[in-house]
Symmetry: C2
Subunit: 430 residues, 2 copies
Amino acid sequence: MIFYPGGEHLASWRLPGAQPERYLDVGYYRDFARTAERGGFATLFIADELYVWDRYRSGIDHVVNIRTEPFTLLGALSQVTEQIGLAATVSTTYNEPYHVARKLASLDFLSSGRAGWNVVTSASDEEAWNFGRDANLDHTVRYRRAQEFIDVVEGLWDSWDDDAFRYDKESGYFADASKLHRLDHRGEFFTVRGPLNIARPPQGRPVLFQAGASEAGRALAGATAEAVFTLDPGGHKAAQALYDDYKARARANGRDPDHLKVLPALSPIIGETTKQAEEYLDLVEELTPDRLSLDWLSHYLQFDVSSHPMDEVFQPDLSAPTNQVQSVHAQIKRLVGVGRFTLRQINRAMLRSRFLVGTPDTIADFIEKRFTGGAADGFMLAFSSIPVGVEQFVELVVPELKKRGVYTGEYRGTTHRENLGLPVPRSRYG
Amino acid sequence: MIFYPGGEHLASWRLPGAQPERYLDVGYYRDFARTAERGGFATLFIADELYVWDRYRSGIDHVVNIRTEPFTLLGALSQVTEQIGLAATVSTTYNEPYHVARKLASLDFLSSGRAGWNVVTSASDEEAWNFGRDANLDHTVRYRRAQEFIDVVEGLWDSWDDDAFRYDKESGYFADASKLHRLDHRGEFFTVRGPLNIARPPQGRPVLFQAGASEAGRALAGATAEAVFTLDPGGHKAAQALYDDYKARARANGRDPDHLKVLPALSPIIGETTKQAEEYLDLVEELTPDRLSLDWLSHYLQFDVSSHPMDEVFQPDLSAPTNQVQSVHAQIKRLVGVGRFTLRQINRAMLRSRFLVGTPDTIADFIEKRFTGGAADGFMLAFSSIPVGVEQFVELVVPELKKRGVYTGEYRGTTHRENLGLPVPRSRYG
């Protein structure tokens, strides 16, 4: 499961059952992580960004702009959860590989092999401004940097062979120097000598997630990712094609395609009846101030749309390439391209496209079809509502999936890799 | 208490009761942290460095070169300890203030007000090599950078006023935009716009520790630190003078000198009798390979002493300024200056000077004299042996100090600040 502190929508924090005053409280995360463990979820994933969205005043007034630094939080959660994998976003644009390799290896030890990381390249200038840059790096440069970053981190994790430590009090040998490797990396972006000051992680390497939908993002995923989050491209056939594309890219890189899991994002809104679920979606829409919807679109389009009336047809020229998140921009462009939608309708369509609205039965239908139909290896669940949505899914949908035999609801092993069906990578030094 | 994973000496991991195979296991830290809580200790401090000491082969063979990244570890410890403060080293030379402000604020929330940080400027070229630099920054440049770093981090912590969040589901107002402050910092080393994406920490600011002994280090401490670790300058009078110097510097900066706590490092070796304690010190010396002692000296002197026979007088010219840790270098220089010590004797003297060897009674005498005699506000205990030394201190010395009425052994409050007797800083915005 994937999440922002308050849930998958800007207005999630206003929903019934939401607990906004607990977003900096470890107990909030512990409670729904344990619910997720009851459902056998493989991964708890903490999405992260490195800025306050203050470009528009509505972003400060109405949006959850506070969150804990994810690795400190995951360190805490490692002690109050038992089985779920613990992963978080790492920006390769605004971090140093030595720090990242250390904290991921540390989390892997502290959690007994449950660590994971989601490599992102960061898309907002706001982040650049907090790290001494005037603007974000260009899209292609960011992806080149990400590739090198991953290579350095993986190299650092291999610094010590798995059997390098002797802990021999008698002879005085703590380690075997012949089993230590210095990286001596010199690349376009990083110069890192190594070695890393922590042993090779229990999983060999924490699980590597990615989400890039652009050509550069897919290429990176094909070369390095072990699981990729995708956004619904619209329809089962398109989802199959996207699935096949990632698998083909893994194969083209000489990898076993089964070692790149494709996990479409899925945001269920669950009702006892379809009508009840639809009413919940209406509520999400109602709880989103117009002004916030406009500013959110302005953010992704990189120009101010707020002077455009909500109920008139919206048809700007969006042909210029964007430096923003490619998948969201492409989705807006498709809707604008239809040529007859007002801003309110575009917003409504964006909202609807993000959520799967239905009963436990119809949601299980969707999951079963995608999973057995070659379009998904699993799903990244992004709940509109926390903790209510997590509880609903575990109580209502998981039993239905078990009944159909498409999901056991049980953990297959003890490590994050085992539970995702991924092998333990060998050290680059053999 | 202060510590390296294995204890305060290079050979600590070989001592009876040491548990080297647990140094990456959270249970190891949890167990002795709980012992420390039984003794009423204010702070658990994790010393940190960003490299493997592989300049000499003996450093790989015989030294503990692995450790967990401290903030991930402290995140974990926040859930398995109740009262002890949780602090760790932060290098201002190889970090970004935005990341550091976030993780310290996060730890402060996750631990309900128990976070602290020890600002260091990093002294080894090995660290520079892991972060894209050819050599460490110059000593004075490092301290200028540290000053600016602290200023930026403290400014970021004040981004949101204490009452900035409304969490008002009804009106849709999550926060009050008028209570958000943008830092817009532009300095010699950092350009950071802000604001920070987490609320002001429960303590206002996590407790700021420092340890610099050089003029630049003392100046920084006088201006910014709330607690300073000192090394014994040799004798009670010198300790008083050092104590007074820090207090005077705080006063000269317009600060209440009581808000800069002076905490001399204290490494007790405790025996039932003095003879037993002395034998333990002999054991520490015996367990240190000669070659490792030589390489350790070479490291701090920045030239190779290993060809010098252990049992001949050692008298090199040490007048050149050093880029290494000033306090250790000065101590070696004093011993060499005596002019009749062999390398073995210098090593022995260095070892002896680092430890206070005695019975619970004589150790309590020392503590009482320094504490009541205006030379210490408390002590940073650095145990030669973990967990044995921690247990001995809590079982044997703490009761003696309580009997004498110089230490209650009780926590004064619930936050790290309260337990150290430090006030909650006000926001720079009022």
